[in-house]
């Protein structure tokens, strides 16, 4: 009598692990193992064409002296700095507008969400035409207003802001949905109570909506920063890191080393540096986040 439940328990134990196995294996095969490989590769010189050669810390030594690592880090930080406020504020405004009870609101929400599900390649191709310095829509508008046309992607000072603008446009719909979910989670009662206390629209927004949305903002901030430090596809499509090194980001520099100059080991070393930086930033955010996230 004592043995039966135990054997049933044992059977469940096995079944449990069997259910776990597929995801566990995929984590091991596609994440943990490659991560380990990545560490190993960073200590080698490897062109991918023949077996890697162990060279100790030489890649990391090169990394310290590589001017382009510094340039690409600064460029990436600049990108993040420009993108984060846009990613926080624009979608919030959109969400507030999309939270109205008007006819056809679902259609509007869909429109704003569409860029999110569009592939970056398609988006970048269209935006390159918008940015075209001679025939582009933006310069045609500027010209019509009697202003000087801008070399959106060809002028070093403008190239990065141009990429940021496109990325913010593309991503706005996603964050809008996050904000919308947050907004709809705020109970009507707070607003009713505030009205009775005589709070005007702005005060309601400032003291009810914003604090209630801080967890959403925190999530967006963390994800935007992580995404910003990994920016690659838009740069690859729009400027190829140029003009000059104006949009050379860290991941683009990794790509250059891995696939243009056959230095896979060095590329892995830069990738680990990037990992460290992202880890540190996220760690700090989570620590600091406790002080301003309200719920």
């Amino acid at each position: 009598m004592v043995a039966r439940p135990r054997s049933r328990l044992k059977g469940e134990w096995v079944a449990g692990y069997l259910f776990l196995l597929p995801s566990f294996l995929s984590v091991v095969v596609f994440l943990l193992f490659p991560l380990g490989m990545g560490v190993a590769v960073s200590f080698t010189e490897w062109s991918t064409l023949q077996a890697p050669k162990f060279i100790g810390l030489a890649n990391y030594d090169h990394l310290i002296h590589d001017q382009r690592v510094g340039i690409s880090l600064l460029n990436t930080a600049y990108y993040a700095l420009l993108l984060v406020p846009l990613d926080l504020v624009l979608p919030l405004l959109l969400a507030l507008a999309m939270n109205q009870k008007i006819k056809g609101i679902v259609a509007f929400r869909t429109f704003f969400f569409m860029p999110v599900v569009t592939s970056m390649v398609a988006v970048a191709l269209i935006w390159r035409w918008l940015y075209n310095s001679e025939y582009g829509l933006l310069n045609t508008l500027l010209y019509g207003l009697g202003l000087q046309p801008v070399g959106w992607l060809t002028e070093p000072a403008w190239a990065m802001p141009s990429i940021v603008l496109m990325t913010a446009w593309k991503g706005a719909g996603y964050n809008m949905i996050l904000y919308l979910a947050g907004l709809q989670g705020i109970s009507e009662q707070y607003y009713e109570a505030a009205k009775i206390d005589g709070a005007n629209g702005f005060e309601q927004f400032r003291y009810i909506t914003v604090p209630a949305l801080t967890p959403t903002m925190f999530f967006i901030l963390v994800m935007t920063l992580i995404g910003a430090f990994q920016v690659f596809d838009s740069v690859y499509m729009m400027t190829g890191g140029g003009p000059g090194t104006a949009t050379l980001t860290v991941v683009y520099h990794i790509y250059n080393n891995a696939f243009q100059t056959f230095s896979m080991g060095y590329a892995a070393a830069i990738a680990w540096l990037l990992f460290g930086i992202i880890f540190l930033i996220t760690f700090v955010q989570i620590k600091v986040g406790r002080s301003w996230v309200q719920y």
Partner: protein, 489 residues
């Protein structure tokens, strides 16, 4: 070694890392990483599809022949199926099996490569050729194939990338095949082209076609302006940098949409490199020494930049950000431009005016650049005999006649290059000999793997010169500084 259970897993690790490691967006980042097929218009492939002229890290590593946009330039003369070789082909006993053949090619080229493969399969039914057409991210995929131990049997390698692949022991030395095959005569191929594709004395592939950089000009604009064409100037014995500039100045006129420039050039390295060679300059030597800092190189770079920014006979980087000199030429908005032979099929679509080509103007010497593509066999191949049959067939008279119809590359088979299969008087340009003539004084990409390693730095830095933000001396000094770690000082 480090003890990876498989090279495939090893590679995957790097691919993940390249996408940069962090929590959730990891996979997302990898999705956007270069190896995915979703990224169209890759810088590594077609400079024509490239974002800005700015960095062109690709132009240097980019397969030259792939730069031409797909344009339906149908050869006027239909391909005559070459008569069956007189002597019955005696394929070696071991030459059988299935081989994978990969190339980047535009569509028309891919069709011709398909015909070459069909030709061989007809000749030798024991061999099956599977085509793997990779117009996007060619080199990335090839690298990944090698790392996974699954590289194709036969592949295109251009002169540009040849030193990397040859020095890494990834290409089969064809020496034994060449000497062991009585049917094959290396002497039939143009010797200097074969030489250009040799690395440290060994044959790591056989070139099926090559191209030289020449001046393309719009005959109508010259006639309208009453200016001597480059061909006329050359005949008169005065086709130099000075008369070139003079010509470009005379042909520059108009304002706004009617503006016509005398000359337009892309920012791709091989384009300006051609001018450097014609003025006794260069970028790097075969033994990896920088010569971009020679007085001749600096002088030529400044001269080219001045054409744009000071003398204004060439459109600026701004106005060329999305339209290449190819588009401007086809629209009749520039009188002269420079490209390799591979531009011919594109320009054959021009109906509004007549055009022709001429060799590069003479600077301190006669010179230009040549580039080309060879078929190579992977060391990983398990059907090397069959692969050799294919490589051999592609440079045979039969295969080369198919290739000649493209007009995109000069056949490496000397006989075919001199025959009407290539020099067809019915097709443009009429001065096709200028392509083959240029070969005599053309330079090829330096045979050092360091060349592609410095290419991104050169491309990124030289951009400031085209923008008019820095002088040639300044950008060259910067390039010298930044490439020290690669080239040594």
């Amino acid at each position: 070694m480090i003890g990876f259970s498989s090279r495939r897993a090893f590679l995957r690790g790097v691919a993940l890392l390249a996408g940069a490691t962090a929590v959730v967006p990891l996979l997302q980042a990898c999705g956007g990483a270069p190896a995915t097929p979703t990224t169209a218009a890759a810088p590594t492939v077609a400079p024509a599809a490239k974002p800005t002229e700015a960095p062109k890290p690709a132009a240097t590593t980019a397969p030259a022949a792939a730069t031409s946009p797909t344009a339906a330039a149908k050869p006027t003369e239909a391909v005559k199926p070459a008569a069956q070789p007189t002597a019955a082909a005696k394929p070696a006993a071991a030459a059988e099996g299935t081989i994978r053949y990969t190339f980047w090619a535009a569509k028309e080229e891919a069709d011709v490569m398909g015909k070459v493969a069909e030709g061989l399969m007809k000749k030798n039914p024991k061999i099956k050729v599977n085509l793997e057409h990779n117009p996007k991210d060619y080199w990335t995929k090839l690298q990944a194939g090698y790392a996974a131990g699954a590289a194709p049997d036969v592949m295109w390698i251009n002169d540009n990338n040849m030193p990397n692949y040859a020095s890494e022991n990834s290409l089969e030395d064809l020496g034994p095949f060449i000497s062991g095959d009585a049917e094959f005569k290396l002497g039939q191929l143009t010797p200097s082209v074969v030489q250009a594709f040799q690395f440290q004395g060994k044959h790591y592939g056989l070139p099926w076609g090559y191209s030289t950089y020449t001046i393309y000009y719009n005959k109508k604009l010259f006639a309208d302006a009453g200016v001597q064409t480059p061909t006329e100037q050359r005949k008169a014995g005065k086709w130099t940098f000075e008369t070139f500039l003079d010509t470009a100045t005379k042909l520059t006129k108009g304002e706004g949409p009617a503006k016509v420039y005398g000359f337009a050039f892309e920012n791709w390295e091989p384009i300006w490199h051609s001018f450097l060679v014609a003025n006794k300059g260069g970028i790097i030597t075969d033994d990896g020494k920088l010569i971009l800092d020679s007085p001749e190189s600096v002088e030529t770079l400044q001269w080219l930049a001045d054409l744009r920014n000071k003398l204004k006979v060439s459109p600026t980087i701004e106005s060329m950000s999305q339209v290449g000199s190819s588009d401007l030429f086809m629209a009749g908005r520039v009188a002269m431009t420079i490209y390799g032979t591979w531009q011919v099929p594109v320009f054959r679509n021009i109906t509004a005016f007549d055009w022709d080509i001429e060799i590069m103007p003479t600077g301190k010497q006669q010179g230009t650049l040549a580039d080309g593509i060879m078929n190579s066999i992977s060391v990983q191949s398990k059907a090397k005999e069959a692969a050799w049959e294919f490589v051999k067939y592609a440079v045979s008279e039969e295969g080369q006649k198919l290739i000649a119809t493209l007009g995109e590359a000069i056949p490496s088979h000397a006989g075919v290059a001199e025959s009407t299969a290539w020099l067809d008087p019915k097709t443009k340009p009429s001065n096709k000999q200028a392509f083959t003539e240029s070969l005599a004084f053309a330079k090829w990409a330096a045979k050092t793997p360091k060349r592609t390693k410095i290419a991104p730095i050169v491309g990124q830095t030289v951009n400031d010169l085209w923008l008019g933000k820095k002088t040639a001396a300044e950008v060259v000094a910067k390039i010298k500084e930044d490439t020290k770690s690669i080239l040594g000082s």
